[in-house]
């Protein structure tokens, strides 16, 4: 399905060979320029995550591998399933994808699952998040085993220089590092109660995420020491900022700033640069919408997610318009120089509306990809700007972020 959008067109792409899979969390651009996708099944019990690939050159979708059985965890074995690769699908310059799995899919034939209810139940609990690489050329998984025991891995970042992964567990919210070469897993301890959805890297390999109130936590690349910086993601002045954990973070085209949004009730945008002292945090205000709209009672009301810079150096993101009589999720474009916001398109296709946009990325030609969550079957949206040509690459590997 396609329709017109501002200065381009938007296409909805359904992963219809996976009729029960309902969310696409992991989405990234590989070094080969292809788009890699983690199609997850978190509502129906007994589903394993699949890795898919979209080839922009020939506009074709491929179903590559079912992950659970490859890890020795078939989805019908009675455990909470290896149902997801959340923001843990990270490309490497070696062509591999660096991954860890996440929990929330129920065991087969179970109507729901919660980790707290099954923590000590060996038969039903989630065994843990597997850390592995996927080689698209060989269509093979290299399984490093379970990292965080009994927990899922919410988000991941990859420091290529040190061959080191940073991740955050769910539900206990521990920060971990994993050294690929020595296969060494280190639990750095608990960082909060609310699960950050992003951990990102500066040019030196230091990692950043937030505590429950949006204070930036820096993890030293060499020592793994966690330091709480004296900068905080923005929030309304009557709030302490509870739940302002990072949701999505992208580098600016020149990599000097990191643009992000919170998993908060307000859905603001901010930008942060870590390179002076404790860093500088600038509030970019509410992501979009009328100036007087209120902090909502529902955490997932506005759904500001799927941040990605276009080849026009403008920041694209998705957001739901909770203030309109009929709600839609829109792609919005922000000119970071002027602060101007423009509506690019709605993501409503007839009766089909995304419940959420999970993440976004680009291909090297400049098309933008937005992953969908909350509908079965799951899918993605492709925004094709008019200026995109297949004989001209507007992005390259150096533009790709190595975090989810």
């Amino acid at each position: 399905m396609k329709k017109e959008a501002l200065e381009g067109e938007i296409e909805y792409f359904c992963f219809d060979k996976l009729p029960k899979h309902d969310s696409t969390w992991g989405l990234c651009t590989g070094v080969d320029g292809n788009i890699y996708i983690a199609a997850c099944g978190e509502t129906t019990g007994g589903l394993s995550v699949f890795i898919l690939r979209y080839l922009p050159d020939i506009e074709k979708l491929e179903y590559l591998i079912e992950v659970g059985p490859e890890l020795g965890e078939p989805p019908d074995n009675g455990h909470a399933t290896q149902s997801k690769i959340h923001y843990c699908l990270i490309p490497g310059s070696d062509g591999l994808l660096y991954c860890s799995t996440h929990a929330s899919g129920p065991p087969v034939n179970h109507p729901f699952w919660r980790p707290q209810n099954t923590w000590d139940d060996e038969n039903v609990r989630f065994p843990g998040a597997f850390i592995f690489t996927y080689d698209p050329k060989k269509n093979k998984i290299n399984n490093f085993g379970i990292g965080p025991k009994r927990e899922g891995s919410r988000c991941l970042a990859y420091d290529e220089k040190r061959k080191k992964l940073y991740g955050i567990t769910w539900p206990r919210n521990h920060l971990y590092v994993y050294y690929i070469e020595s296969r060494k897993y280190i639990d750095l301890g608990r960082i909060g109660d609310i699960n950050p959805q992003a951990i990102f890297l500066d040019k030196f390999g230091n990692a950043y995420t937030t505590d429950d109130y949006g204070f930036i936590l820096k993890i030293d690349a060499e020592t793994n020491e966690i330091k709480k910086l004296k900068v905080k993601c923005s929030c309304e002045n009557y709030r302490y900022g509870w739940h302002n954990v990072t949701y999505d973070v992208v580098p600016s085209p020149d990599w000097k700033w990191f643009y992000g949004t919170d998993w908060g009730y307000e859905s603001r945008l901010w930008r942060f640069t870590p390179y002076e002292g404790d860093g500088i945090m600038e509030d970019l205000g509410r992501a979009w919408g009328p100036p007087d709209f209120k902090t909502d009672r529902s955490l997932e009301r506005w759904q500001v997610r799927g941040l990605v810079f276009g080849a026009d150096k403008k920041l694209y993101f998705a957001m739901r318009s909770g203030w309109e009589e009929e709600e839609h999720t829109y792609i919005i474009r922000l000119d970071t120089k002027t602060g101007e916001r423009e509506k690019v398109c709605s993501l409503t296709f007839g009766d089909h509306k995304p419940r959420a946009i999970a993440s976004a990325t680009f291909d090297f030609y400049g098309n933008l990809y937005f992953a969908e969550a909350g509908n079965a079957p799951t899918g993605m949206y492709i925004y094709r700007p008019k200026n995109v040509r297949k004989d001209k690459k507007l992005f390259s590997w150096k533009d790709v972020k190595l975090w989810g």
């Binding site: 509502t43 179903y63 590559l64 019908d76 729901f112 923590w119 000590d120 609310i194």
Partner: protein
């Protein structure tokens, strides 16, 4: 890939069963009674909390002034008090205990209201003393006293358990490596080493005093010993803390308390996570049961009504609060500790407990970031007496 796509076209997918569920039945949290917590900072967030990696609350006791005193473990060890007061409901970080990285269940209060403690890890296993007389928290400010460091009772060893005997004004303790049982006479500033609990250094790091003044501790295979101060004698008892069959070698009593209500001593063992009761009058010990599959019972305390409260959990686990009612012999899992007051927080790991003046239960979280949890047991509804 092509094979996979073909296979997917034919695959029979699982169905989600119809949802006809009362989700309230599946709430894993403590809902019987009320749970709160306090960040380890001054009230109204006047201070930063005690930092992560220094704030695991590993020792708690109730002061004679009704304040709750606590000590932490980690990169440094802090002594703090919690003021349960309308004027200042918060935590005062009294200061860092010099040379300490851990204080594990060694805080106790003497008859003058001073707090004694022993260093369980760090530079030296010193005793320390804290004078509580200046402690006050209110709008006008927060005040505290000094921590005095005393010498180590057993040279070269740390202190892993410490209790106070008000009748004799002495402290009883156990040393970390060799497991020496020692007495520290406060008036005389004198240490008497009464003996090694077990020659093979297989002992439990707990001490408890009954209402007759006898002291109990555990050696190899969790054999119970009694020290009678009147006879000045250690008496081995033919009594063993319970474990699963064949596992006595691994067994340690991890937590213990005396219940004035029924005169029993209650203990929790690790790694089998079993709660037991021991009656000193009859030398009778019985297993009560296992609360969750988690391996530890890191702390126990007795509520004002004689109910025993404790934590069933383990490192990297999900701890449950439980209660045991000695009247009904009922062992109840109360659930996971979760609250949004003061800090929205799940408590997963705990190491210490004590009971407050009004029967509220204090639980010391021992995570990288830790809070003082407070459980308010429910008040049973009274029936009006009609004639």
């Amino acid at each position: 890939m092509e094979n996979l796509e073909k296979e997917l076209e034919k695959r029979k997918w699982p169905e989600r069963p119809e949802l006809n569920i009362n989700f309230r039945k599946y709430n894993p949290y403590v809902t019987y009674g009320r749970v709160e917590n306090r960040s380890l900072r001054l009230f109204q967030s006047l201070s930063e909390p005690i930092p992560p990696e220094e704030c695991a609350i590993t020792s708690l006791c109730k002061g004679k002034n009704r304040k709750i005193y606590g000590a932490t473990s980690g990169k440094k060890s802090h002594l703090f008090y919690y003021s349960f007061s309308p004027e200042g409901d918060g935590v005062c970080d009294i200061g860092i205990i010099e040379g300490a990285k851990s204080v594990k269940n060694t805080l106790c209060v003497d008859k003058k209201g001073q707090i004694w403690g022993g260093i369980s890890e760090g530079e030296k296993g010193n005793l320390f003393l804290y004078d509580t007389s200046k402690d006050h928290m209110g709008e006008g400010g927060t005040f505290s006293g000094e921590i005095k460091i005393f010498s180590e009772p057993v040279p070269g060893e740390f202190i892993v358990s410490l209790i106070y005997d008000e009748d004799r004004n002495v402290l009883y303790g156990i040393s970390s490596e060799s497991g020496y049982f020692f007495i520290y006479d406060i008036e005389k500033n004198e240490v008497l080493i009464k003996g090694q609990i077990d020659k093979n250094k297989l002992f439990s790091s707990v001490l408890v005093r009954d209402n007759k003044g006898n002291i109990y501790f555990f050696g190899q295979s969790c054999q119970m010993f009694k020290y009678s101060p009147e006879e000045d004698k250690i008496i081995p008892l033919d009594i063993y803390a319970p474990t699963l069959a064949g596992r006595a070698f691994y067994n340690r009593v991890q937590s213990i308390c005396f219940n004035e209500y029924d005169g029993f001593i209650y203990g929790g063992v690790s790694p089998d996570g079993i709660l037991f009761a021991f009656e000193p009058e009859t030398n009778f010990l019985r297993m009560i049961g296992r609360i969750t599959p988690e391996r530890d019972i890191p702390c126990l305390t007795v509520g004002n009504d004689g109910t025993v409260y404790g934590i069933s959990g383990e490192k990297d686990g999900m701890a449950h609060l439980f209660s045991y009612d000695p009247e009904t012999y009922s062992l109840n899992d109360l659930g996971l500790l979760y609250t949004t007051i003061e800090i929205p927080w799940h408590g997963y790991e705990f190491s210490s407990a004590c009971t407050g003046h009004f029967g509220e239960i204090y639980l010391g979280e021992s995570d990288r970031i830790s809070h003082l949890f407070i459980y308010f047991p429910p008040i049973p509804r009274k029936k009006k007496i009609t004639t």
